[in-house]
């Protein structure tokens, strides 16, 4: 039987039954910009960075199941412009100061901004008041950088079985909270060994006592732009080279 295909930016892309557009693309070494998606967790489709056009309709690639013959538009000026606008929204919604951030160079938000050629935040800043939580002996929480992707929420709930994180509030006032009456991370069961301690795509969950071990400029996305790893790995697989 013929393997089902989607037509991805004009090229046929095979997929396995049950795969989403994101999974099919990732398997083929194609990078679709995303922030809240992580292959280890149930997709939730909230950041909307992975918005693609499937058969003419805008959908989230991370939640939309691939269907045979589906035409998917991904890397188009219009979609990239929308993604850029959403990145700008995320930048002005929080307080992001890349030059002084420990996550600079390892941050997906920053890396995507470079990748999608975002030159300025464009919109007026909201400058929200989000105090940091330094109560925990091993970890600092800097809520200023939170993009509400819920990866820590999902990791703590689904992998660590601890439910340390959750979201509260609504609309522009939506925010991350921790599982303690005091509201302090130190009063939760959180520890550095948790999966949740290592999934933040930006710089909210920061390990204490270990700053700038690798200088900015030599970090993950400094060396190769986001998405390149995936695409290079696929090329190597294709040509049989070692990565």
């Amino acid at each position: 039987m013929r393997q089902p295909n989607i037509l991805f930016d004009g090229l046929p892309l095979p997929f396995a039954d049950g795969q989403t557009i994101m999974e099919a693309a990732t398997a083929a070494g194609i990078f679709i910009p995303h922030l809240c998606h992580h292959p280890d967790f149930k997709p939730q489709g909230s950041c909307k960075l992975c918005t693609v056009k499937a058969n003419g309709r805008h959908v989230s690639a991370c939640t939309m199941p691939a269907k045979d013959g589906m035409e998917v538009e991904n890397n188009s000026p219009d979609l990239n412009d929308k993604r850029r606008t959403m990145l700008q929204m995320l930048f002005v919604e929080g307080n992001h100061f890349c030059p002084s951030c420990e996550k600079s160079g390892n941050c997906m938000l920053q890396a995507l901004a470079y990748e999608l050629e975002m030159l300025t935040p464009h919109f007026p800043h909201f400058y929200p008041d989000r105090p940091v939580d330094a109560s925990h002996p091993q970890v600092l929480l800097d809520f200023n950088r939170c993009i509400l992707c819920e990866l820590c929420v999902r990791a703590s709930r689904d992998v660590d079985d601890k439910n340390v994180f959750a979201l509260s509030g609504r609309g522009i006032r939506k925010h991350l909270i921790v599982n303690a009456e005091s509201g302090r991370l130190a009063d939760t069961s959180f520890s550095l060994g948790d999966k949740a301690a290592h999934v933040c795509p930006v710089g909210v969950i920061i390990e204490k006592g270990r700053g700038f071990a690798l200088p900015i400029g030599r970090r993950r996305y400094d060396i190769q732009p986001i998405g390149m790893e995936l695409e290079r790995a696929a090329r190597c697989r294709g040509s049989g080279e070692a990565i």
Binding site: S46, M89, L90, F123, A166, L167, S168, A180
Partner: protein, 625 residues
């Protein structure tokens, strides 16, 4: 402990601190009444707040323990709904309905008047904890505004005299039951009756007719009637019912559900209020018929928090129906037929009118719309096949059971059969509920309700369409101007920019915050509108609004975000001068007033000379005297 909860509360709250043991005693009956069921979390939080006044941190911990949920999850739910408070609120909580129609009737001035009388700042609790005054989204009283809620009870037809009286009552700390009864009168205001509102059948008559027809025949009647959902989207009801009937149930508690969406949150809509107040038996008949037809044993009615005042009468009705054999086991004497209805009350979240957000809320969670597919007919409440229908849709289903599908299809137009209830408010002589066969023209409606100088009509609420005069010959129907029922009329004297600005703030307030474009975009747009209103706008802002609209329309997770900029787009297209006369120039203007920004520095240094001002010819200090 069998002491009076009031006196117990006083001993438990000492100087704002809750004593843990006493708190547990206060909360125990609340959680027990809801079977310590985590799916009842929203109901438990509402009830706990009734007892405690607000939801202090210790109470959330106690509730989380009682229902065995992580505390953070409980706090997340409590933080989602506007009517749940995590900080102390006034013993009298006054919330002015902030829909544009209330504003047109002077609600803004009345709010200021009340604040002045009570010496308080809007949105802040008075020092003595007595009172707080703020606004809330439309309370569904557009036909008898300006309206407000005091401790959840609706008050209508506010006037300066009434506001002065209210401030005296609050200062005198009079119990709400001792306030003048006429303040709380809510009229139905039915102005035009057609097929539905002329119906006067005894309770259960429609149900008995449906049972006599049988399941398949009832579904066939629904198909012949070609009834489409009255909540706005217009999905064909019999297809929904058929799909849910065929869908497979799962797990141990395998069953199907019927959900009545009574979360009538669209600003300017109030027809479901009238149906629930005066036609409740038709609603419950409709739900039971749906249950019988699809094979469901449980019905759930989700009542918006603003309509909580309807609850006692609705609960009484359910008791009566159980007594009369119209609910419970062996309905109408049929041994194998059981169906019951439970009412859940919302807590101030417009987004819960979206059917999957409503299901989340019913399950005791934050009202965030789900990813679709799967659709509720396949995996709805608790993952089971669920039919979610609007209040009016279910009434129409009852009507179809009584009078047959062919009769129903004979009303209205071919694609939009039957009648539609319109909630008419704004600049009209006779506001209220009007029932018309589908296909009626906007101009006909306008002349019936006494709107002589209308310049615009917002049909379907903020997420609907704004029609200008040249469109008044268009017809109310799914194939022309679809609507969930709101019909707000704006006279020639109204400023359509202010209408759109009011709507932009509504969407920013009601965005659930799940997806990036809607969460941030609705607030950015509201800020743009404020900038234009403050006289700092330019062509730049107009372009920004168009740009954000294109993004929200394409990338938002649900209909709220997708339609959030519709009213702006409509008014920008049809009433451009209302915007342009406010623009400072067609060039870029800074978002803030630089000179005003220096005011603090001037005050601190005691200077007010020209050099301390920005934008005036710069002069060297001491240079020119």
């Amino acid at each position: 402990m069998d002491c009076d909860p009031r006196s117990l509360l006083e001993t438990v709250v000492t100087e704002g601190c809750f004593e843990a043991m006493g708190l547990a005693a206060l909360l125990q009956p609340v959680v027990d009444r809801h079977r310590r069921d985590p799916r009842q979390l929203l109901q438990i939080l509402r009830a706990a707040q009734e007892v405690l006044g607000y939801l202090p941190a210790v109470a959330l911990t106690a509730i989380a323990d009682a229902v065995d949920l992580p505390r953070a999850r409980v706090e997340g739910v409590a933080g989602f709904y506007s009517f749940l408070h995590l900080t102390p609120v006034g013993r009298y909580r006054v919330l002015f309905s902030d829909n544009i129609t209330d504003r047109m009737l002077g609600s803004g001035e009345l709010l200021d008047r009340l604040c002045n009388k009570l010496w308080i700042e809007r949105g802040k609790v008075s020092e003595d904890g007595l009172v707080s005054v703020d606004t809330t989204s439309c309370t569904g009283m557009g036909d008898q505004g300006p309206a407000l809620l005091v401790n959840g009870r609706p008050m209508t037809r506010m006037s300066a005299e009434r506001i002065d009286w209210i401030s005296e009552l609050i200062r005198g700390q009079a119990a709400l039951d001792d306030w003048p009864r006429e303040f709380f009168v809510v009229d139905d205001n039915i102005q035009r009756r057609d097929a539905l509102l002329t119906t006067r059948w005894p309770a259960g008559e429609a149900l008995r007719t449906a049972l006599a027809r049988g399941r398949s025949a009832m579904l066939a009647e629904m198909q012949r009637a070609n009834l489409r959902g009255r909540g706005g989207a217009g999905f064909t009801t019999h297809i929904k019912w058929e799909s849910a009937r065929r869908a497979t149930t799962r797990g141990e508690r395998a069953t199907r559900y019927v959900v009545c969406n009574a979360d009538e949150g669209e600003p300017g809509t109030f027809k479901d209020r009238v149906l629930l107040a005066s036609y409740a038996d038709l609603v419950f008949d409709g739900m039971t018929i749906a249950g019988f037809t699809i094979g469901a044993e449980q019905g759930l009615l989700y009542l918006r928090g603003e309509y909580a005042w309807l609850l006692p009468a609705l609960d009484e009705n359910l008791v009566r129906r159980r007594r009369d054999g119209l609910l419970g086991g062996q309905i109408c004497g049929q041994a194998d037929l059981s169906f019951d209805i439970e009412i859940h009350v919302g807590a101030g979240a417009y987004v819960c009118g979206e059917e999957t957000a409503l299901l989340e809320s019913l399950e005791g969670k934050r009202g965030v719309p789900r990813i679709r597919p799967p659709f509720p007919v396949h995996a709805g409440y608790l993952g089971q096949p669920t039919v979610v229908n609007n209040v009016e849709t279910l009434c129409k289903a009852a009507l179809i059971a009584l009078r047959g599908g062919d009769w129903f299809a004979g009303l209205g137009t071919k694609q939009s059969t039957g009648t539609k209830l319109l909630s008419i408010s704004g600049d009209v002589e006779r506001p209220g509920v009007y029932e018309y066969p589908f296909g009626v023209s906007v101009s006909q409606v306008l002349s019936d309700c006494g709107a002589d100088n209308a310049q615009a009509v917002q049909v379907g609420g903020p997420s609907g369409a704004c029609l200008a005069m040249h469109e008044f010959m268009r017809r109310i129907a799914f194939e022309d101007v679809p609507t969930a029922g709101a019909f707000m009329v704006f006279g020639a004297q109204r400023d359509m920019f202010e209408v759109a600005r009011n709507f932009s703030h509504f969407f920013a307030h009601e965005s659930c915050g799940f997806c990036t474009p809607c969460r941030v975009g609705t607030s950015l747009v509201a800020n743009c509108m404020d900038k234009i209103a403050n006289g700092h706008g330019s062509q730049y802002e107009i372009n920004e609004i168009f740009r954000i609209h294109r993004l929200l329309h394409a990338a938002s997770h649900c209909g709220l975000g997708q339609s959030a900029c519709n009213p702006l787009l409509d008014t920008l297209t049809k009433f451009r001068p209302a915007y342009e006369r406010r623009l400072r120039s067609l060039d870029f203007e800074p978002a803030f007033d630089l000179d005003q920004a220096l005011a603090g520095a001037r005050q601190m240094t005691g200077r007010d000379d020209p050099a301390a001002h920005f934008g005036q010819p710069a002069r060297m200090p001491g240079g020119e005297r």
